[in-house]
Symmetry: C2
Subunit: 228 residues, 2 copies
DNA sequence: TCAATAGTGTCTGTCAGACAGTATGTG
DNA sequence: CACATACTGTCTGACAGACACTATTGA
């Protein structure tokens, strides 16, 4: 009755070069040697699921979710046959972090890099990880609508246009700068002003935007909806 | 590494007497003998998670989700110590069904009944099932906003006021009959008219409402939002 | 100077909610 | 008749999206 193994897998997402990307590791062991996969691994006997997700992420990539990041459970994948080694049930997580130092490979992985989510057709992911990534990306896109999670993708301090670039990258659309600015500033607790403006010398010219930090609000009322 | 057991637990909800209720079974075996708990049990070695949820529901209560019901994964609970028998990770599900025949007790359960969700303080649920029920109820309340799931709570054919009573029961609020009717009929594919009206002889008098069946639409654009 | 960007003002169409008014049923 | 319920009409305030306009910067 308990020859079932439980693993965690993490869809770690960030915005790089105005593109939504997820972290994949190249597998160094069987099965699927050399293929790209989500960071993850077996849950230890006395370890909570969230703790396991954070530990595996650190072990395989050197990334610590604690500083400014966000981690939440996505869903659980348990179809028989999804892992050739036997019955493996995987609890998937989604993690969001600001721009990062380059990930480090861990013991079980021979490489790690961020992949743009719209270039994943090339990656030939191991197991059912393509499906898990797709579900995770959709979760992220949906959550930007009615939560303030977008701020976990930017470093402080940030400007309203920085935040807009996050929405544009994640949703793959262009938003009206004026309407977006009004919307964010009209939501109490979304961002708090620092009193400063961006330093002189930014490329392209233009008025220097006001800088903000993350606010205390978590939910968004009213939501910022994706264009139809 | 795999002395972890995987179970499924099901929050089966229905609307009875204009009240949202969930099905609980009284445990007949240790641990927590005599306490109320969610129907559920161990996943079999070659069984998918969804299939396990349906099987356990039928075994413990005699209820088959197939006819007109809805089943979806809720989330996974895996804190160490949540089950005194050892490490047990539980994949929780939410199920919605129309009014039902009385549930039958199964082998592992000495009783089964529907509990109104606002009377669960009395029930002293086993394990962490109080938390799971709370999460499931919140999922249901949220999903009524932007999906057509409410129709899975009513028998066909049904009237717009029937559907409104579902929303009122689940959300615990009163809705404006006129605005609700306009909203539902203005959403293509939510309901399809049968051409009939409710039979003469309903209690309370009043104009006979038009009867409908479930429509093909799953999502709701725009959503029906809970009042603030 | 021109080009680019930040942010405000303003208008318009859509929609939610309040509520009046009409149609149709029971007692 | 009185009364209850179903449903339509209509108004108002909030908001999204389009877009003009001003302010501020680099080249």
């Amino acid at each position: 009755m308990d020859d079932v193994a439980v693993t965690v897998d993490v869809v770690l997402a960030t915005v790089l070069d105005d593109t939504l990307t997820v972290l994949l590791v190249q597998r160094g062991v069987e099965p699927f040697v050399g293929r790209w996969a989500l960071p993850g691994g077996f849950v230890l006997p006395d370890e909570g699921l969230d703790a396991a997700a954070m530990r595996e992420l650190t072990e395989e990539t050197g990334i610590d979710i604690e500083d400014g990041g966000h981690l939440e459970q996505l869903r659980t994948y348990g179809a028989p046959g999804r892992d050739p080694r036997g019955r493996v049930v995987s609890v998937a997580y989604v993690a969001l972090v600001p721009r990062l130092p380059a990930p480090v490979s861990g013991t079980d992985a021979s490489g790690a890099r961020f992949w743009p989510v719209d270039r994943l057709g090339r990656a030939r992911l191991a197991f059912d990880h393509a499906r898990i990534v797709a579900d995770g990306v959709e979760r992220i896109r949906a959550k930007l609508e009615y939560t303030t999670l977008a701020v976990t993708f930017v470093d402080e301090p940030f400007s309203i246009p920085d935040l807009r670039h996050v929405y544009e990258a994640v949703w793959g659309v262009m938003l009206d700068p004026g309407n977006f600015s009004r919307k964010v500033l009209g939501t109490p607790g979304f961002v708090v002003p620092t009193g400063n403006r961006a330093p002189i010398g930014a490329p392209g010219g233009g008025r220097r935007p006001v800088l903000y930090r993350r606010g205390p609000a978590a939910a968004l009322h009213p939501p910022i909806l994706r264009p139809a």
